[in-house]
Structures are given as structure tokens and as C-alpha cells.
């Protein structure tokens, strides 16, 4: 727990997510907040004590719309993640454990799915399916499991070579029990990490879809659809784009950061023991890398033990960026000092 608190970025990410989730779940308690109440007389009003985030082009309270939009975005993110983790882990486990033809089939399937630009796939399927939240979730889930499948497969291959798995096979434990009993726990931390970044990816995808008009339909809102509607009013009401945009960025960042934290907590027993551990969970999307770079700044001040190990392993690749980061943090520090004085 000490490590956790010492990393301020992590603490921020965790408390931010907790807050967002609590608000999203409890938003119905605020009776006064109706995201669909139209008040044309007071449209496009800037933020005020009455309307904290102002009003939109139809005079609806933007604060309420952003909160309800967050509910939709998070719901889509979490459910799409569950869907893609379910597919990805199943495919990865079967592929890695059985190998041979099954492996060949699934991996070629992954190649096919990956070789088609996902946006086109999602667009086509979005047009085919009945519009609605469920179809968005399924479409995103069905087109984002490939990375997880690949990561899980490679982890399973590594675990399968360990002698305790060979022993279980030898004494005749059925394959399904070996997979759930021995292999799943060993790849669990990887799955956790991959799934948090999948949530982040799903939220981004949903935003992009809604931005293109393929996502949630009016009057329901999500952060992405709010962004899309705000386009026309950028000059009059820039806050309409800024607020959902900032929330998307913070949420995506926090989920990526959360993956880093959870990995450390998911394998406490192994951490102290096995030497072949700190392994890098793969599956970095662009977001995760930027998130990690950001973390670097935090680490420079107060590096947790595990992260330090990992950094050492990464030194050759990261030297240049690290230097930049230390410069940045040095500058930040001097600025802070200036402010204090």
C-alpha cells in the first residue's frame, strides 16, 4: 500500500476513476438534473452557478448531459472490454495451450481481423446492426480482442513450458483444469493490464464512432457524441468541446495508469519469489506509451521499487526520452520553487 500512496499519479488516477464511477452510478439521485430538458430561451449559455457547465444549443443543462454521457461512455468501455477480454482470453488460451492446427486457425483469424482497418470494419458493422448501445458494445468488443488474444497466447506458451504444467499433464489432469488451475492464474496479471488499456481503447473508439455519427443516437449522449455536436458551436461555446474532451483524456489516461498499478498488485506472491518475473506485458497502444512517459515524470521524484526494475530493463530504448523527462521534472521543480517563494 505504501508504494501505491507514494506514486501521486497513481493515486490521482485511482481517485479520479473512483469519483467518475461513483458519479456515473449515482447520477440518478440528483433529481434536478435532467439531461433532456429543453429550454430554448437559455441556449448556449456559458457556465454559471445555475448551469455549472453552461447549456447547449437547445438549452439543455450541459452538466447533466456530460454526467449522463459519462455513464454511457464508461458503460460502453467496461462492457466492450469484458466482451473483448472474454473472446481474447479464450482464443489466446486455446491457441497457446493446444497449438498445432487450432493455433494456426486462430492466429490467422487474428491476422485477418488486424489487417482490415478497424474503423472501416466498425463502420460497416455499425451500419448493418440495429443502432443501439448493445450493438456498439458488441461491435467494439468483437473488433478489439486480437491484441489480448496474442498477448495471452504468448504468455500461455511461456507458462506451458514450465514443469508444473508438464507435471499436471503427466498425472492426467484434464486440459480444462490445467488451463483454469495453472495457466490462468499465471497470465492473470497480464490480462488485467491488457483489459484496463482495452477499456481506455473502447472509450476512445466509442468517442470516435459517436463523433462520426455512428455511435449513440440522440437524445442519448456520450462524451464522443457531445464532442460531435459541439463542433458547430465552437466559436460561441468552446466549453462544449473542452469539457467532454478533457474528461475523455483524463479517463483514458487513468485507465492506462491503473493497468500499471494493478499489475504490481496482481502478483504479490510471485513478486517476492520468481526470478523470471518482472515481465513486460505487451499490447501497448499508443495511449499507453504516452501514459507511461507521463508516469516517468512522477517516478523521477518518487520511484516505486517495481517500476525502477522495469525502467532498468528498458534503459537502452528509453535513454533519450528519459533525459528529456528529467529535464522536464527539473524545470517543473524549479518552477514550483519559484511559486513557493
Amino acid at each position: 500500500m505504501l508504494e501505491f500512496c507514494s506514486d501521486r499519479q497513481a493515486a490521482f488516477a485511482a481517485s479520479y476513476l473512483l469519483l467518475i464511477f461513483l458519479i456515473s452510478i449515482l447520477v440518478f439521485l440528483f433529481r434536478g438534473l435532467d439531461p433532456d430538458k429543453i429550454d430554448v430561451l437559455h441556449k448556449l449559455q456559458p457556465p454559471s452557478p445555475l448551469h455549472w457547465f453552461g447549456t447547449d444549443n437547445m438549452g439543455r443543462d450541459y452538466f447533466a448531459r456530460v454526467l449522463y454521457g459519462g455513464q454511457v461512455s464508461l458503460l460502453v468501455g467496461v462492457l466492450a472490454m469484458l466482451c473483448s477480454v472474454l473472446i481474447g482470453v479464450t482464443v489466446g488460451m486455446l491457441s497457446g495451450y493446444f497449438g498445432g492446427l487450432i493455433d494456426g486457425f486462430f492466429m490467422r483469424l487474428v491476422d485477418i481481423f488486424l489487417s482490415i482497418p478497424w474503423l472501416i470494419m466498425v463502420t460497416v458493422f455499425g451500419l448493418l446492426f440495429k443502432k443501439g448501445l448493445l450493438s456498439i458494445i458488441l461491435v467494439i468488443g468483437i473488433f478489439s480482442w486480437m491484441d489480448i488474444a496474442r498477448i495471452v497466447r504468448s504468455e500461455v506458451l511461456a507458462v506451458k513450458g514450465r514443469e508444473y504444467v508438464q507435471y499436471a499433464d503427466f498425472i492426467g489432469i484434464p486440459p480444462l483444469s490445467v488451463m483454469t488451475g495453472h495457466i490462468l492464474p499465471a497470465v492473470f496479471s497480464t490480462i488485467i493490464t491488457a483489459s484496463t488499456s482495452t477499456i481506455a481503447g473502447a472509450i476512445m473508439t466509442e468517442s470516435a464512432l459517436s463523433f462520426l455519427g455512428l455511435g449513440v443516437q440522440q437524445p442519448m449522449s456520450s462524451w464522443g457524441s457531445l464532442l460531435q455536436q459541439s463542433q458547430k458551436y465552437l466559436q460561441n461555446a468552446p466549453y462544449m468541446a473542452l469539457l467532454p474532451g478533457i474528461l475523455i483524456i483524463l479517463t483514458v489516461y487513468s485507465f492506462n495508469k491503473l493497468g500499471d498499478i494493478l499489475r504490481v498488485f496482481a502478483e504479490p506472491r510471485v513478486r517476492a519469489g520468481e526470478e523470471d518475473m518482472p515481465r513486460e506485458a505487451g499490447g501497448k497502444s499508443g495511449n499507453e506509451e504516452t501514459a507511461q512517459e507521463k508516469c516517468g515524470e512522477g517516478r523521477a521524484e518518487n520511484p516505486p521499487r517495481k517500476d525502477k526494475e522495469r525502467e532498468e530493463a528498458e534503459i537502452p530504448v528509453r535513454e533519450a526520452s528519459e533525459r528529456k523527462e528529467t529535464e522536464i521534472s527539473a524545470r517543473e521543480a524549479s518552477e514550483k520553487r519559484g511559486k513557493d517563494e
Binding site: 498425472i171 492464474p185 519469489g273
Partner: protein
């Protein structure tokens, strides 16, 4: 301790691993085990030595049916193991690496209960057996709640041994169980294995590359070279009168603690590296490195033959060499 009842009889055992080219076509075979025949007697410790990659572990795993042989037969108590496979509880294995042989996410109780999974025992009986076994290998009954990372390498290896013993097997394959341990712990583990053998009359197939330790443990020793048996003899005889040039080279390279004795040993350096098991040599597999090789050795493959009672060697010139070199 030599007994006459054969527990295992192995005839012409072969295991080839195909090498595939990029497109999946077969390019050749790695002959990991190439035509090996021998027997293991009940109650003995059969030692199998050889350098890395010579097929010792593959041979062991073939006997346990963890791998399917390419050709050859294995008889267990007189029955072909492919027609009437013996129960899993009759054979067990102890692994080399005590770190990867125990699941880090399972506690010791769970690890030791795994072999008992198919036994018709109540949870209480299982618990009692586990605790009794832990005491037998010098650990405490409370340790069932602890996890592998809380133990040292030697303790982990003893947990691995306890797991192998849970079912009171007839036969235990020890796949280099001491190679990953410190010298002091090696002795401790080996002594424990011997005590357990005396108590339960196990038969061991002990794989190792540690010649000094082998002499201490084994009743008979087989020397493997590139997938085939080079020499097979009772351990005393093998150390005192090695017949195969490879065995001689191995024994002469063995570190000896006493410097006086060490100086007296005539070293038999081997010239080349171990050839790849991929190469398909017509003659004796050892011929390219053998200091005594004659042209004939490169053409004719020697068979394992009994030169003196219970002492087998696969070398065409074994008699000449031993008469020349004593």
C-alpha cells in the same frame, strides 16, 4: 542390491524430432534417442549420464510416456506399456528446476494434493497424508498454508520429492534433481532420496551429469552419447574399468578433490565440439572425436555388446583399447 526382476525392459527405443522447413516440409530429424535397449531392475537406482543434449531427459520421458516414441518397445513388469498402460500412480517424476516445477500461485497443500486428485480419499485423509509426507521430507505440517516462494531451493526440491511420493509409486524418474542445488544441499537431497528408497523400495532412474555423485547413488550406470548408449555397467565396474573411450574421457575430466590423485589422472582431452544430432553419421557416433578411432569406426555402427558379465559397451575396438591402455 542387484535384483533379477526386470521392472522395465526397453527394446530398440527411438525418438526422432522432425525439423521442418519454413513451409512445413520435413528437412530431417534430430535423433534424440537412437536405438536404445536396456533394462531397469526392481529396486535399483539406474544412473544415466551424458553431456547436455545427448537425449537423457528424452529417454526418461519416453519411459514415463510423457513423449511418444518413434519406434521401439517399452515393457513394464513384462507388459508393453502401449497396450496395457500402467496406472499413473505407479510412476512419478522429480524435476530439475525446483523453481519452475512448483506453481507459484498454489500453496504447498494444494501442490501436494494435486497427485491425489483421482484418489478416492476424503479431504481429511488427504490432509493427513500430506502432513505425514511433509514430515517425512523434513518440513512442518503447518507449511501446507505457505507458498513456494517462501522456501529455499533445497526445500522446494524436497516439496517436489514429496509430491512425487504422495502416491507411493513403484518407479521415480529423477530428472537431474540435484543439478540446480548447492553442493551441501545436493548431499542432503541425495541422502533423503536414498533413505526413502530404503523405506519404500522405489526404483529410481537417476539422470545426471555429475559423475562423482552418480557413483555414490547408482547401482548401475548407463553412459549416453548422442542418443545412444555408449556403455552400461555396474557403477563400481564403470569407474574402475571404463571400456568405452567416451567414458574414459568423461572420467578423466571429472574434478577430483585430492590434488595428488588429480595429478595422477591421465587426461583424455576430446578434440571437437559435440557434433549436432542432426548430422547423419554412418559409423560410430563418437568416431569424429575419438582419439582411438580407425577408419572402420567411421563406417560401421557398433552395437551394444556384453564384453564382461553385466558390462556392455558399444565400441568396435574396446578390447584393443583396454589392452593397450590398461
Amino acid at each position: 542390491m542387484l535384483q533379477t526382476e526386470k521392472l522395465f525392459e526397453i527394446r530398440g527405443l527411438k525418438k526422432y524430432f522432425p525439423i521442418r522447413s519454413f513451409l512445413g516440409g520435413k528437412r530431417g530429424d534430430v535423433k534424440a534417442v537412437n536405438d536404445v535397449s536396456f533394462s531397469i531392475y526392481r529396486g535399483e537406482t539406474f544412473g544415466l549420464v551424458g553431456e547436455s543434449g545427448c537425449g537423457k531427459s528424452t529417454l526418461g520421458r519416453l519411459i514415463l510416456r510423457m513423449l511418444e516414441p518413434t519406434a521401439g518397445e517399452i515393457f513394464y513388469k513384462g507388459k508393453d506399456i502401449h497396450q496395457s498402460p500402467p496406472g499413473r500412480q505407479e510412476m512419478q517424476i522429480i524435476f530439475q528446476d525446483p523453481y519452475s516445477s512448483l506453481d507459484a500461485y498454489w500453496n504447498i497443500g494444494e501442490i501436494l494434493a494435486e497427485p491425489l486428485r483421482f484418489q478416492p480419499l476424503s479431504a481429511r485423509e488427504k490432509q493427513e497424508r500430506i502432513e505425514a509426507m511433509l514430515e517425512k521430507v523434513g518440513l512442518k505440517p503447518e507449511d501446507t498454508q505457505r507458498f513456494p516462494y517462501e522456501f529455499s531451493g533445497g526445500q522446494r526440491q524436497r516439496i517436489g520429492i514429496a509430491r512425487a511420493l504422495m502416491l507411493k509409486p513403484e518407479f521415480i524418474l529423477c530428472d537431474e534433481p540435484i543439478a540446480a542445488l548447492d553442493a551441501s544441499i545436493q548431499a542432503q537431497v541425495v541422502n533423503m532420496l536414498q533413505d526413502l528408497q530404503e523405506e519404500f523400495h522405489f526404483t529410481y532412474l537417476f539422470i545426471s551429469h555429475d559423475l562423482s555423485m552418480m557413483r555414490y547413488i547408482s547401482s548401475r550406470i548407463g553412459v549416453m552419447y548422442l542418443g545412444s548408449l555408449a556403455e552400461l555397467a555396474p557403477s563400481r565396474e564403470l569407474y574402475e574399468k571404463p571400456l568405452h573411450p567416451y567414458t574414459r574421457a568423461l572420467l578423466s575430466a571429472r574434478p577430483v578433490a585430492d590434488p595428488e590423485k588429480a595429478r595422477a589422472i591421465k587426461r583424455l582431452p576430446l578434440s571437437m565440439e559435440l557434433p549436432s544430432p542432426l548430422d547423419n553419421l554412418p559409423g560410430c557416433p563418437f568416431a569424429p572425436r575419438c582419439p582411438f578411432a580407425k577408419p572402420l569406426c567411421r563406417e560401421e555402427k557398433p552395437a551394444l555388446r556384453e564384453l564382461s558379465p553385466a558390462h556392455f559397451v558399444s565400441c568396435l575396438r574396446a578390447e584393443e583399447i583396454s589392452s593397450e591402455n590398461g
